[in-house]
């Protein structure tokens, strides 16, 4: 055999030479960024990577460190307390949508102050409270909620609002009782339940926002149908299996299905259709366990099927048909506005009925003595947590809004003035649309904070989340698993689940929730 000269070493060295020449002028830059990169890697990324690794271990430092594969994740998916803790997170996220307004108003008010010095002083006044440690603020608020000596009950008693609450404590459950026949009758019969009614409103809004359904391509229809039916199928498997379906298979499959369908919808129908999956997710929650059961027997004949499941799709079709009908008789913008109005009205009516019939259904009997236990009663814990921090003017948020407002060119204001837009119109037509980027940033911050925070709940309610664990949030549950039960590996796995969720939500916010100015 003869030796055949080989060329690869030469080729490799040539490649290295070329790389060296190409990056020669960048080497100093690499050198400069090296310390920062190293620090970030060691202090920023290493602990996170370690969390990922430890989530696969039964880790109880310093002695127990045993590899257990995906067991923690299986436990996490089957942990009812972990998942029920997201209920409060969801409520807090919805509440945040309302609680961000005072901050926006404060930012606008500051921005509109014409006297620079006064504005500066007020800006400083906004920043000064930031020096007060968060713990102190928490403890002050905890004392506010003291039933006997707290300022909130004293104020409510002094202003007579306590009697108002006491009156509501009688009237609201009575209203819920009076609404019951309507809920069980027409609402359940026609829409399945109140969630169904709200979903109809949401579908109408979707139809208004997402353009002409006739333009949807055939491939997209497949995705749309898949996205609409499959979550219900999974839901059925869960409820019909009677616990026989292994969570180890079901949980990751559901998650994958949800993400896959979302991706498909967005790719074929456009970014805005990301909302569809969330609507369907809401529908699965709203109709959980009753997809093949009916309600409101007297009305069944009207829609020809004893299934909430079919009724929902019937309504999806009806709303799309209504949308197309309106589009066919009115011009595009007018049709869009009409659909938005109708959708909003239906949604709001659904929301109000939900509030009136499902939230305050039994008297708390906390207000008659004038000493409601805001943090000690299971029904008052969540309202107390929502009210916490009133008037909800977050300094950082205000500064972010202010930065956005200051970027609005003066000629936009002048043009608006020439068009005869008043101060209120200026807020909703000029300022708010132009600071939506900042609003989005704040929403992302708020979402991340709501999902990860636990300190407030720990201080106010203790490690079990207060009465009936109503104040349990995922962060607090993670903390209590790690530091009270010593299950660090499990806490790492919970953290990983949370991380994936936050990452997903942030990606969705950034990629698909577009701001059109």
């Amino acid at each position: 055999m003869t030796d055949v000269p080989t060329t690869p070493p030469k080729r490799n060295s040539q490649r290295l030479d070329r790389l060296w020449t190409r990056t020669k002028h960048l080497q100093k830059l690499y050198l400069l960024v090296f310390p920062t990169t190293l620090l970030i890697a060691v202090l920023g990324y290493y602990p996170k990577i370690d969390v990922i690794i430890k989530s696969f271990f039964r880790w109880q430092p310093p002695s127990v460190n045993e590899y257990i594969g995906f067991n923690h994740f299986v436990d996490a998916f089957a942990d009812p307390i972990f998942w029920s803790s997201f209920q409060l997170v969801f409520i807090m996220l919805v509440a945040n949508l309302f609680k961000m307004w005072p901050g926006i108003f404060a930012g606008v008010a500051l921005h509109r102050i014409s006297n620079d010095r006064l504005r500066y002083i007020l800006q400083v006044c906004f920043v000064v409270p930031m020096v007060i440690p968060g713990m102190v603020t928490l403890l002050i608020w905890k004392s506010f909620y003291d039933p006997d000596y707290g300022i909130i009950n004293r104020l409510l008693n002094a202003t007579g609002l306590m009697s108002g609450l006491d009156w509501l404590d009688v009237k609201m459950p009575a209203l819920a009782t009076r609404l019951e026949p309507m809920m069980q009758g027409p609402i359940a019969g026609i829409f399945g339940n109140l969630w169904g009614l709200m979903l109809v409103g949401a579908f109408l809004l979707m139809a208004a926002n997402h353009g002409d359904v006739r333009k949807i391509r055939h491939r997209a229809i497949g995705w749309l149908l898949g996205a609409s039916f499959l979550p219900f199928m999974v839901e059925q498997i869960i409820f019909r299996s009677g616990g026989r379906v292994d969570y180890r298979v079901l949980a990751p499959l559901t998650l994958l299905l949800f993400i896959g369908l979302m991706w498909g919808l967005v790719r074929t129908l456009g970014p805005k259709w990301v909302v569809w999956m969330f609507l369907l997710f809401g529908a699965v929650f709203g109709f959980r366990g009753m997809a093949f059961e009916g309600g409101g027997d007297n009305y069944i004949a009207l829609f020809g099927g004893k299934t909430a499941y079919l009724r929902l799709f019937l309504w999806m079709g009806i709303t799309l048909a209504i949308a197309e009908g309106i589009r066919s008789v009115r011009e595009r913008f007018a049709a869009e506005a009409t659909l938005k109005t109708v959708g909003t009205v239906v949604f709001v009516i659904g929301g109000l009925l939900l509030f009136a019939s499902s939230i305050w259904t039994t008297p708390t009997q906390q207000f008659s003595q004038g000493t409601p236990a805001w943090l000690g009663n299971k029904d008052l814990v969540i309202p107390a947590l929502i009210f916490w921090g009133f008037p909800w003017i977050n300094t950082v948020g205000v500064l972010i809004y202010l930065a956005g407002l200051q970027q609005i060119p003066i000629d936009v204001y002048e043009a608006a003035e020439l068009d005869g837009i008043g101060p209120v119109g200026m807020l909703f037509r000029i300022e708010l649309p132009l600071i939506l980027t900042q609003v989005r940033i704040n929403l992302i911050f708020m979402t991340i904070m709501t999902l990860t925070t636990y300190e407030m709940f720990l201080i106010l309610l203790g490690p079990n989340g207060g009465p009936d664990n109503r104040g349990m949030v995922p962060g607090l549950y993670m903390f209590s698993k790690a530091f009270l039960e010593g299950k660090f590996g499990y806490a790492c796995a919970l953290g990983m689940v949370l991380f994936v969720m936050i990452l997903g939500l942030t990606v969705i916010y950034n990629k698909y929730v577009k701001i059109e100015k």
Binding site: P61, S63, V74, Y145, G243, W374, L375, G376, G466, D468
Partner: protein, 622 residues
């Protein structure tokens, strides 16, 4: 044309000036420090970490630290002890982080952290001290005892002259001087013993005594007078008739009548309820705003109801002790439930413990679950509550707070007596003889001044220093013969009653405790019925992945971990035996660990109990 002044220059000027000033100050301080001698240079600093922020404790500890720092041999070696007090809410995190990072103080109070509960975890960070505790404590020699100590030491320890006696009983002095250090503790140093290591791992420096109920003597007298009026009223007050005739809280007999006619505090559970109801009526009648019978909070609720677990569950516990250990384990509790040995319908639970807990909750302040420990103590101090149940650690807070306002009395928790509603379900008062000493101080293995740390602990638990510190703190001393302050005498454990380990405490059965802990307060406050409470709890017990079957598995895993820790300890012991020879101490220790390990059998003891209950089932695996 004059150019307009740019105001930004002012900002720049201020910035440069501030930077320049900082630079000059920094340079000045650095050079001054370089020239000056470091006050800590050459010093041996011994730090002691604890979470006792109750009034008096830090002052008491500081007093003995100062006295120790001024001892001639300590000064000569430039040793200085410093205390670090960290709030209990963050103590566990603080200790864990510093132990793992190797920066923990030399002496740390053991507890709070579940990670450092026992066994190998403890041994990894803290030094077992069996080698030290067998020798006498030299700080119990006559030169450190009352009557024999130097003027300087006496002045440092007892400047007011009210913390130490002039002299002590010679027999006691002799015992303390000659006995092993461990024998000088009232519990034989059991509070510092770790079963899994078969070693002393900490030095207990105080005792909190047993749980007691504090009461406002002045208010009690007023309410008793009111109760007497109501008792004598004809027709008798409706609320009293209801409690006596319908609720059968107390028998309407001569002893009850004579109790009503005295200013005495309730001495039985039935009378306690009658008194609490009288307090509610008194509040209405006299218009005493915000007065409640019992001051409670999320913290104090447990202390109150905790008094009744043993009396009411003892009878059930007797049925559950399948391994005859006189100690009811989690396995025995859940196995008993699964096989029907006990149920929530058992009258000891339904009509006893749970009924009592609901009745007591009627007399707590509104929204007590949202109140914290400080708020509850404040309510008692402000005479807005007659009773509060807690341990000796809160005694000084309550006594000091009430000083000048009202008199405070202390009683053990009242239990039912014959003829009362709950008497048939109660086994009587809990025995407190097994109470261990508290505030155990452990020695950090990484300590740079280990011997001095041990020396300080010896000083801290010498007769004189321990009595001074605990009198200052208002706690019970841990040393034999040392006297507590008068007010702490009611906290000295009572030795009669039911064995405390024979109890069924459902809130302690991990894995399935979350639902129980969440729903129990709702049942207590009347927000859910007993049936709803039981349904929720039993549903959680039956849960596929997080129910009682999981408890079996987790207990097995936990016992296996413990067995492995014991094996590690045995390996160390064997190695020591091979290298240094098998002395008696090491032999006993090795054999004890071996014996203890055999009772666990690598976790298979749990499986053995499981198969005793369920011979035909396979052991749950997850």
């Amino acid at each position: 044309m004059m150019k307009r002044f740019n105001s930004n220059w002012i900002g720049l000027f201020l910035l440069v000036t501030a930077w320049g000033y900082s630079a000059v100050r920094f340079a000045g301080i650095s050079s001054a420090q370089a020239l000056e001698e470091d006050p800590d240079e050459g010093k041996k600093v011994v730090r002691i970490l604890h979470w006792q922020l109750e009034p008096g404790y830090r002052e008491g500890m500081q007093r003995i630290i100062d006295a120790y720092n001024n001892l001639p041999h300590v000064e000569e070696d430039r040793v200085e002890v410093r205390q670090m007090a960290v709030t209990e809410r963050v103590y566990a995190q603080f200790l864990n982080v510093h132990l793992i990072s190797g920066t923990a103080p030399d002496i740390c109070e053991k507890g709070m952290s579940s990670i450092l509960g026992s066994g190998a975890q403890l041994a990894r960070f803290f030094e077992p001290i069996s080698g030290y505790v067998q020798k006498p404590n030299h700080y119990n020699k006559p030169e450190y005892m009352p009557g024999g100590m130097s003027e300087d030491l006496l002045e440092a320890l007892d400047p007011e002259g009210d913390r130490l006696p002039d002299a002590i009983d010679p027999e006691l002095a002799d015992y303390l001087e000659t006995s092993a250090w461990s024998e000088t503790f009232t519990d034989g140093m059991l509070g510092g013993w770790d079963d899994t290591l078969q070693d002393y791992i900490a030095v207990p420096v105080s005792s909190w005594g047993a749980m007691r109920t504090f009461y406002n003597i002045d208010l009690t007298a007023d309410i008793k007078a009111f109760l007497e009026e109501e008792y004598d009223r004809r027709p008798r007050a409706g609320w009293l008739t209801r409690l006596i005739e319908e609720e059968r809280m107390v028998p309407d007999n001569a002893p009850f009548e004579s109790w009503v006619r005295t200013p005495d505090v309730p001495d039985s559970l039935g009378r306690f309820i009658v008194f609490c109801e009288a307090t509610m009526q008194y509040r209405e009648a006299k218009g005493v705003d915000k007065l409640v019978p019992i001051s409670a909070s999320s913290y104090f609720t447990g202390t109150m109801i905790g008094n009744y677990i043993v009396p009411f569950t003892n009878a059930i516990a007797e049925k559950l002790d399948v391994d005859h250990s006189s100690n009811i384990s989690h396995e025995e509790i859940i196995g008993g439930w699964q096989t029907g040995l006990w149920s929530f319908d058992d009258p000891h639970l339904k009509d006893g413990f749970f009924d009592v807990s609901r009745w007591l909750a009627k007399y707590y302040p509104p929204g007590y679950l949202g109140l914290d420990r400080e708020q509850a103590a404040r309510r008692f101090i402000h005479s807005r509550a007659v009773f509060i149940t807690t341990g000796g650690w809160d005694a000084s807070t309550l006594f000091d707070g009430a000083e000048g306002k009202f008199e405070v009395g202390v009683i053990p928790a009242p239990v039912p007596i014959e003829g009362e509603r709950w008497y048939p379900y109660s086994a009587g008062r809990q025995n407190e003889a097994e109470s261990k000493l508290g505030a155990p101080m452990a020695l950090n293995k990484e300590s740079n001044h280990f011997d001095w740390a041990v020396d300080f602990l010896r000083f801290m638990t010498s007769f004189s220093a321990n009595q001074v510190m605990n009198k200052e703190a208002g706690w019970i001393p841990s040393v034999v013969g040392a006297e507590p302050v008068e007010a702490m005498k009611p906290f000295i454990p009572r030795t009669e009653g039911v064995k405390p380990s024979m109890q069924v405490n459902l809130s302690n059965v991990r894995i399935v405790d979350h639902v129980y802990k969440g729903k129990f307060p709702l049942y207590q406050t009347g927000e859910i019925s007993y049936e709803e409470f039981v349904n929720d709890v039993e549903e959680s017990y039956r849960s596929d992945r997080n129910g009682v079957d999981r408890v079996w598995h987790e207990t097995f895993v936990s016992n296996r971990d413990r067995a492995r820790q014991l094996e590690r300890s045995m390996v160390v012991s064997r190695l020591r035996g091979q290298l240094q020879g098998w002395d008696e101490e090491n032999t006993v220790k090795h054999n004890n660990i071996l014996e203890y390990s055999l009772t666990i059998l690598d976790g298979h003891s749990t499986k053995a109990i499981f198969y005793k209950y369920f011979p035909d089932r396979t052991f749950p695996e997850y």
